[in-house]
């Protein structure tokens, strides 16, 4: 793991994307609402798209407070999902392909570690840091939106139940799917860049769709998010079962120099 995280190629997904999504967007939006309350007028069309049931009964909730609530709880959820997706893609792409590039993989293949242990180990080695990192980002996001948002909304409003479900169920389920696919691609790729590029092109459109729908999911109910997570978990289980059955180290060696 220490080898993986020493790669400069991880700077964009691990630093820049989280900085923009977790810190930049919410800070700028909430600061803008606080400093220029009139700017909320421009958001009326957007806000009217959200049903009243989507916003809890908060006493003396202003238009700015309503906009803050909608953005923090619903709008940014989709952006936030980009964090685990990008992190997991890049960490998983680095698994086999990164080891090939650093020429450490062949030594590992000669050890008694079984084929299934190898692939499950690589998936776990990408899954654990992805989840820990995403939860860390969630803590930062929570701190920022509460710090800047409470004066606008008027009370502590974040995290909501649906965000807990998002973090505890949907993020792990989606991450595992991304990682499983990218680890498989990584096993066949010649290097990190190739694995990352192929992984990204395969994964991002699918995840983009999920991210785009996330705001809508959040509005509907926590139960629906949980059901979506369950669906992903079922796909994960089927995919992992297949991977463990078909993965063979000799197929990786065919791609070594």
């Amino acid at each position: 793991m220490r080898e993986t995280f020493s790669t400069a190629q991880l700077v964009v997904p691990l630093i820049i994307v989280p900085l923009v999504v977790v810190v930049g967007y919410p800070s700028l939006f909430l600061l803008a609402l606080r400093l220029t309350p009139g700017s909320v007028e421009g958001l009326q069309g957007f806000l009217s798209g959200f049903p009243d049931s989507a916003i809890p009964a908060i006493a003396h909730l202003t238009s700015a407070g309503r906009a803050a609530y909608v953005a923090v709880v619903y709008l940014f959820a989709g952006f936030f999902l980009l964090v685990p997706v990008m992190v997991s893609t890049v960490v998983a792409a680095n698994s086999f392909a990164g080891e090939k590039e650093r020429r450490t993989l062949e030594g590992l293949l000669y050890t008694p570690v079984s084929d299934s242990e190898l692939v499950v180990g690589k998936i776990s080695a990408a899954f654990v840091p992805t989840i820990v990192f995403t939860w860390g980002c969630f803590a930062v996001y929570t701190a920022i939106v509460d710090l800047l948002g409470i004066p606008v909304v008027g009370q502590l409003f974040f995290p909501t139940a649906s965000w807990w479900v998002l973090m505890l169920l949907l993020v792990p389920a989606v991450s595992l799917l991304v990682i499983s696919i990218v680890v498989l691609i990584s096993a066949k790729a010649r290097g990190f860049q190739e694995a990352n590029a192929i992984g990204g092109s395969v994964i991002l459109p699918v995840i983009g769709l999920v991210a785009a729908q996330a705001s809508g999911l959040m509005v509907l109910s926590s139960e629906l998010i949980a059901a979506t997570a369950l669906l992903f978990a079922l796909v994960d289980a089927a995919l992992l079962y297949l991977i463990v059955r078909v993965f063979k180290r000799s197929r990786i060696v065919s791609y070594l120099p």
């Binding site: 020429r103 450490t104 030594g107 293949l109 000669y110 008694p112 000799s250």
Partner: protein, 337 residues
């Protein structure tokens, strides 16, 4: 380097008497990569406790052979593939824990030398305390104790090479693959490694499978060699046997005393002599057959010249290798695949 100071070598004979069969038995091994035939009907039998050298130019198929013999690459076809008494196609998981491999790969640069060794010990099923103590043992054996805590990225090429060899030995393997093991080592360390290999193969019946281009070293340490070229075994057997078969000459070196007036013509006149060449410090006489050696030696001694020595000069492995490889491919064809 301190390699010969490992202390008592563990006897690895097991209760099932597995020492009896060969360490490696391969028949009809072929492997192709698309149109390229990397190995073509290779047969190999390597006894337990042997130090076996697989020789061949770049692209000959040595790496492919090692990968297949470790079950990390599938052969295209094979009739027999047994390692340490197990059919590798069915029981690779029973073989791997008994095998150590050093190939042209890298260590984990951001980890320390000790962490590199201990982590591999754990991959071989050792518990954490055992893997750490084995790592310390190996660091001491290879003279790296003082650097054990340092990240490998700071190591010299020779130190990394020692560590790669140490890593192959971490789980007390019964079969060790070494790929160009002395590359990057200084002459003293190379000599100590060769001495260690000889000792461990004799005392613990550990089998060594070495690929190398250093033919002089291989000749000194190997009990058996095979020359692989173009995916085929061109010759196999003990080094001297391979050399004699490939270079069917009988040569005797004659070293006259300094200032002696001996000439090539004096030697050419003796019975059984085919050719005489002047070499540094004397003459090399090629005889018509091995049976001519005694009468030739008597004839040389009877000449009225002072001598420093008369000795048969058997063909070297290097000469045999060049003859065998040169017979099959022009130098321009010998390139990495």
């Amino acid at each position: 380097m301190g390699i010969p100071d490992e202390g008592a070598v563990e006897d690895v004979t097991d209760a099932r008497g597995e020492m009896d069969g060969p360490a490696i038995e391969v028949g009809g091994l072929s492997r192709s990569f698309g149109p390229l035939v990397a190995l073509d009907s290779v047969d190999l039998t390597i006894a337990r406790g042997a130090v076996f050298g697989l020789l061949g130019p770049n692209g000959a198929g040595k790496t492919t052979t090692v990968r297949i013999l470790n079950g990390v690459l599938d052969p295209t076809s094979v009739t027999k593939l047994e390692v340490l008494g197990h059919d590798l196609r069915l029981e690779a998981e029973a073989v791997r824990p008994q095998v150590g491999v050093q190939t042209d790969t890298n260590l984990y640069e951001r980890l320390s030398a000790r962490e590199n060794l201990a982590s591999f010990g754990r991959l071989y099923g050792m518990d954490t305390p055992s893997s750490r103590s084995r790592a310390d043992e190996l660091l001491e054996m290879f003279g790296l104790t003082g650097r054990g805590g340092e990240r490998v990225e700071r190591f010299s090429k020779g130190m990394k090479q020692k560590l790669l060899i140490a890593r192959a030995l971490v789980a007390h393997p019964r079969l060790v693959y070494l790929d160009e093991p002395t590359a990057g080592l200084d002459p003293e360390a190379s000599h100590e490694l060769m001495t260690y290999i000889t000792r461990v193969s004799r005392e613990a019946h550990t089998t060594f499978f070495i690929t190398s281009h250093r033919l002089d070293e291989m000749e000194g340490v190997c009990t058996g060699v095979a020359v692989l070229d173009g995916g085929r075994i061109r010759a196999a057997g003990p080094p001297e046997q391979v050399a004699r078969a490939a270079i069917p000459r009988v040569r005797v070196r004659v070293t006259p005393a300094a200032g002696s007036p001996m000439t090539a013509a004096d030697l050419s006149a003796l019975p059984g002599v085919k050719d005489v060449m002047g070499i540094d410090g004397g003459f090399a006489a090629d005889l018509v057959e091995e049976g001519a050696v005694p009468s030739f030696v008597r004839g040389v001694v009877a000449l009225p010249f002072d001598l420093l020595g008369v000795a048969e000069e058997p063909p070297t492995l290097q000469e045999a290798y060049l003859a065998l490889v040169g017979n099959h491919r022009a130098p321009a064809e010998r390139q990495a695949v």
